[in-house]
């Protein structure tokens, strides 16, 4: 499976993502934001970081960069696009995903492991995933997902909520919500479920000695579903 990771000035999880993708057998290549086109890919990843220094709004400048038109075309033709953390913020700014990531409710940068509940398995990312609750890592200042009531209803009606923050037992409540996101939302799909944006970093959970391996499950699952 061929993947491309887009590097923006200020991206800082691009190489971690490259390591993770290659570890599980993706044929990955790195693509610079100023390029006009993307090499033939089955998956495009917008990595975490602080693209363009988070100027104006997180992800807003990257969402107008040269390469983005190719990403949008790829997404609209049904290609898999995954945005992690800043990548999620960029996807909302492009309009490929609804809503916006606001500053965390308690104004703090959060760097910790969290549990997320997989809410929908009728998609190419989570289909047949063996676990319902994953332990992943978050590191962000703007992860407080927000959208209008109408958009939220539409996300719920179309099962577009991908993952939600929860406890180790899967409980979703205020206590297990790290950043104030509505409905504990940690990640969402577009309507066709080929575009996934989420704040947690699966690429940081691919080594049993360093972190944990729930991220490995995520990447392996994408490959399994592609075959």
């Amino acid at each position: 499976m061929r993947s491309s990771v887009i590097i923006f000035p200020g991206s800082n999880c691009d190489r971690d993502m490259d390591v993770a993708l290659k570890k599980f057998g993706f044929n990955n290549q790195m693509v610079w934001h100023n390029d006009q086109s993307i090499p033939k890919s089955d998956l495009i990843v917008l990595p975490g970081g602080f693209s363009y220094g988070d100027y104006l709004r997180c992800g807003s400048i990257a969402s107008k960069s040269k390469i983005i038109k190719s990403v949008i075309d790829f997404a609209n033709s049904g290609g898999l696009v995954l945005g992690i953390c800043n990548g999620f913020q960029i996807l909302t700014e492009t309009g490929l995903l609804n809503g916006i990531l606001q500053q965390n409710k308690f104004l703090n940068f959060i760097c910790s492991n969290v549990y997320v509940k997989v809410k929908d398995k009728q998609n190419k990312y989570f289909k047949d995933l063996k676990k319902d609750v994953l332990e992943l890592h978050i590191a962000h200042n703007e992860g407080n997902y927000f959208c209008s009531d109408d958009e939220l209803k539409s996300l719920e009606d179309n099962s577009q909520i991908a993952v939600t923050y929860c406890g180790v037992d899967g409980a979703e409540n205020e206590k297990t919500n790290p950043n104030g996101a509505i409905k504990n939302i940690a990640g969402i799909f577009n309507r066709n479920k080929n575009v996934l944006g989420m704040m947690p970093h699966p690429e940081r959970m691919i080594d049993k000695y360093l972190s944990g391996e729930d991220g490995s499950l995520f990447f392996k699952n994408i490959l399994d579903n592609f075959k």
Binding site: L56, R57, S60, K64, T92, E93, G99, I100, Q102, Q103, N104, K105, F106, L107, F146, C147, S148, G180
Partner: protein, 77 residues
């Protein structure tokens, strides 16, 4: 021609920074501060002499980049 834009959070959207500023002001004995909303201010130099045209250009800029209409309103002043 210089066009000025103010971008603010929509009513009803939580503004934690504004809240923190309000509480700090209250703590500094500005007890009569009831609410603070923080926003952004832009001065945009446009190569255009016709004010109406310049404002219409900036309006387009606001919709496409300067404001995120999910949570923000803008005002050209």
């Amino acid at each position: 021609m210089k066009i000025k834009v103010i971008v603010t959070l929509k009513n009803g959207v939580l503004d934690p920074q504004g809240k923190a500023i309000q509480q700090t002001l209250n703590g500094m004995n500005f007890g009569n501060v009831e609410d603070v909303r923080q926003g952004k201010y832009f001065e945009i130099e446009v190569k255009e002499k016709d004010e109406k045209k310049a404002k219409s250009l900036v309006d387009d800029m606001c919709k496409k980049l300067l404001a995120n209409l999910v949570i923000e309103d803008y005002k050209i002043v």
